[in-house]
């Protein structure tokens, strides 16, 4: 006799609604010869059973109830704090934390006031668009206008962790508590959000591979994406995607890196390479970190959904665009191809279309994709003879939707 093996956790768990639990309770009472048909609203036993059914249904909630707790025991099903507990205890891999955005301001005192020495955290700067606030990380001196200390270059740090503290160059334009002091915002303030569940799960999976002498690919990925292992001691990594390709003829292993929103900048490659050399590089191998570059693309689509989705047109557009951006930023460096080997791949147009419909499943029933009209090719070249190492990731630029909300009607 053959036995089917469940492939999804949901196949192992029977989740009941509050109505089902209440109905089952009533049925059980009736089987004990209790006449329940006389019970009315407010009657004690009926309300007791109803309240208990409500509480029990909460325990069966897939997001916070025992399905989530059970899922917390399995990498791939664990989410949120249960994933933290599992990955930390079983894989010794804490979640990469959110970072506080830092940047540099030039402060110019246009008044006759001598501010003297300003202690750490005593200057409050603000991005007037996002209302994110920042404080100075060290003390500095700001003297009166015309004097030798009338201009100071100050490093500030966001008060909020993660991308909430991000600001582009020029966006921070005022200091709140120093009237008469003008601000020149010199460098961008990039803050990283805490690692999301998807990236965290993938990284934890790489932990075992990193322990294997036969798994340098996984080892590269694990050490480069783990904030606490960074060779420079910064405790920060912007790398979320790694694609390592070895060449036994030359004893070289090139690994391309990219971030959660596309290509990264030069210092990331230096930090990644140093980290690999420290933690993962096998003997007799030279590892080379290379930044993946970006290939931009736009999406134009027309979507038909039933009104059962219960969202406005704008909400649907936002939902789809968010799903597209998230999914695009999770595609592997060099794209996907039908063989899965280390040759150039694509962002498949069909894949893009699927992301759109899945974002609003099961309410969508038709999607026309105008752009990309064809599969988007991504480069992946490893040529040690000519010293050419290039790879690309896709960057989604604009999304142009046309949404049709169609009445579904009763009884269908």
């Amino acid at each position: 006799m053959s036995m089917s093996i469940p492939t999804a956790l949901s196949e192992l768990i029977r989740q009941r609604t509050q109505e089902e639990i209440f109905g089952d309770s009533i049925t059980q009472m009736q089987s004990q010869a209790v006449a329940t048909e006389t019970w009315k609203s407010g009657d004690p036993t009926r309300e007791l059973l109803f309240t208990l059914s409500f509480q029990l249904a909460g325990l069966e909630d897939p997001n916070v109830g025992y399905p989530a707790i059970i899922g917390g025991g399995f990498l791939g099903y664990a989410a949120g704090p249960w994933l933290d507990a599992l990955a930390t205890s079983n894989y010794n891999s804490p979640r990469n934390p959110a970072t506080y955005a830092q940047c540099t301001l030039q402060l110019t005192n246009a008044t006759a006031q001598d501010f003297g020495t300003i202690e750490q955290n005593d200057t409050t700067a603000e991005n007037p668009t996002t209302h994110a606030t920042y404080h100075n990380t060290a003390s500095y001196v700001l003297g009166p206008a015309g004097g030798p200390t009338a201009v100071a270059t100050v490093t500030i740090e966001a008060d909020a962790a993660g991308s909430a503290g991000n600001s582009d160059v020029g966006d921070i334009s005022s200091v709140v508590n120093m009237p008469g002091v003008t601000v020149t915002h010199l460098t961008a303030a990039p803050g990283l959000d805490a690692e999301d569940d998807f990236a965290y799960t993938l990284r934890a999976q790489q932990k075992f591979v990193s322990l294997s002498p036969n798994g340098p690919v996984g080892a590269y990925t694990y050490v480069v994406t783990t904030a606490s292992l960074q060779a420079d001691g910064s405790g920060i990594t912007n790398v979320t995607r790694v694609r390592a390709i070895g060449d036994s003829d030359f004893g070289e292993a090139v690994f391309f890196i990219a971030g959660s929103s596309g290509p990264l900048a030069g210092p990331e490659a230096a930090r990644a390479q140093a980290t690999v050399i420290k933690w993962a590089e096998p003997l007799a191998v030279d590892s080379i970190a290379v930044l993946a570059t970006g290939v931009t693309f736009n999406v134009i689509y027309e979507l038909w959904v039933y009104d059962t989705i219960n969202l406005t047109q704008t909400e649907i557009e936002t939902l789809v665009e968010s799903a597209l951006r998230t999914a695009t930023n999770q595609r592997r460096i060099g794209g996907d191809n039908e063989t899965g080997d280390d040759t150039p791949g694509f962002i498949y147009a069909e894949w893009v279309r699927a992301q759109i419909t899945e974002a609003v499943a099961p309410h969508a029933f038709k999607c026309l994709l105008t752009a990309p009209a064809v599969d988007l090719p991504l480069d992946l070249t490893v040529d040690p003879i000519n010293n050419i190492y290039t790879a690309q990731v896709a960057e989604l630029v604009t999304v142009t939707p046309t949404i049709h909300i169609v009445p579904r009607g009763p009884g269908t």
């Binding site: 006389t38 004690p44 309300e47």
Partner: protein, 143 residues
């Protein structure tokens, strides 16, 4: 499934007025009377299983509650109580008085005849957000 026992009129349930009395089972007009009392002490929207159930007046007894308000209550409550199909007819009278300088005391006297011909009467008092069952009588006998 076994056959349910012969149920008394209006079934059986645990006694509950201002608190649940576990192990005390009531039936007949007492069961209905307790149900009506709970109706009168439950604010609408508080019952998890039926947010439209409940007729508590306690939160209305503020400083702006007047005799005119009290005079409109009987007909409103009679209509609400008669929605219960166990009630054949009901008469509600109200008395509003002052307690001390500002506190109000509202007394409701409820006399109901049930669908099986039995009856009960009760006196319910509202004061300072508290609802109290002052008296419960079946066929002229005070319980």
């Amino acid at each position: 499934m076994s056959t349910p026992l012969q149920a008394p009129p209006f079934g059986r349930d645990t006694s509950a007025t201002d608190q649940v009395r576990y192990g005390v089972i009531v039936s007949g007009p007492r069961l209905v009377a307790e149900s009506i009392f709970r109706l009168l002490r439950t604010p609408k929207g508080q019952l998890l299983s039926d947010p439209f159930w409940g007729e508590s007046l306690a939160d209305r007894l503020g400083s702006d509650f007047s005799q005119a308000d009290a005079d409109t209550l009987p007909s409103q409550l009679e209509a609400a109580i008669e929605k219960d199909d166990r009630i054949d007819s009901v008469t509600v009278t109200s008395t509003l008085s002052k307690v001390g300088a500002t506190a109000l005391l509202l007394k409701l006297t409820i006399a109901a005849t049930l669908s099986d011909g039995s009856s009960f009467s009760m006196v319910v008092a509202y004061q300072d957000l508290t609802v109290t069952l002052l008296e419960l009588t079946f066929g002229g006998v005070t319980s």
